[in-house]
Amino acid sequence: MSAPAILPPPSADTQRNYQTRLGMWVFLSTELMFFGPVFWSYLVARQHAPAAFAQAGRLTNAWLGTGNTLLLLTSSLTMALAVEAARHGVRSYARRALWLTALLGCVFLAVKGYEYVNDWHENLFPGAHFHALGIAGQDAAQMFFFVYFFATGLHALHLTIGIVMVAVMIRRMRTAARSVASREVDLVGLYWHFVDIVWIFLFPALYLIGRSS
């Protein structure tokens, strides 16, 4: 009986990298269960009052929404570059890319905050003073803005956590061993890209609805 060709066992580092990445994927799966129902509530409410939803959607700022989308996609690029640089051990480059990622995340939040302030002044925050100008179905419009604030607020919270993690990684890149730093940047990268994907779906759902009608 000839012995089958056996590949050398993976190094302890490779195994650890694989395990931590898998752990992050399982965590992200639970995050999907968290965001999924938010999208579902949007779909049900939209199905219930499509016309009022389209009208309410037009009250969001499509320019700022599009700009923020491009910002977040760019932050995903800088994060991907940081991960690649860390994998190749080019720490100075990885740190610069992480700085840029955190900066883009902060600009995104600032733009979102500016939008929130405008929405508040236009009485679009759900509550006793809610009033969407020129919309017949005020209840449905309020439902749209309830979903809008909840979904974008939840996304902003996740992004804030992401920025804190990136900031921690910028510090860690100085001190941690190369393999550890690379593994950790990898994990933060997975989380960051997930938050980006959530926005990829929120953007058309909240900002582009009703633009052509």
Binding site: L70, H88, I200, L208, I209
Partner: protein
């Protein structure tokens, strides 16, 4: 960048990876602009279809290239697929419930304290 030149082999690999990331990023930007632009063309139900299709392509690009789902490890892919299947089951069951629920024969008396329901 100076350090990149210190190790030519690693540097070449890194440069290739970075060029690929830049390519994916450009694709993502173009797709985002396509979604934003198409929203202003009256397509009826087609608008939503374009939005969902483009968002799905963008997600695949981010997941496969930026989140390294292409790497030769099947279990993270499996975790991802299981999560998607579970969400699909959740949506299907809720959808069947929503679509088949019959409104009450006589609506409850409306009053200022009656909570509004969707259906």
């Amino acid at each position: 960048m100076k350090k990149i030149h210190e190790d030519q082999h690693a540097g070449g690999d890194l440069r290739r990876a970075m060029h690929k990331a830049l390519g994916i990023w450009l694709l993502l930007l173009v797709l985002a602009l396509i979604t934003a632009g198409s929203a202003y063309i009256p397509l009826g139900a087609g608008n939503a279809a374009v939005n969902v299709a483009v968002a799905t392509i963008k997600t695949l690009l981010v997941a496969v290239y930026f989140m390294h789902l292409r790497e030769p490890y099947p279990v993270p892919r499996l975790a991802c697929i299981v999560a998607l299947v579970l969400v699909a089951i959740l949506f299907t069951l809720s959808g069947i419930d929503y679509a088949t629920r019959v409104p009450p024969a006589s609506p409850p008396p409306a009053g200022p304290d009656t909570p509004r329901t969707l259906r």
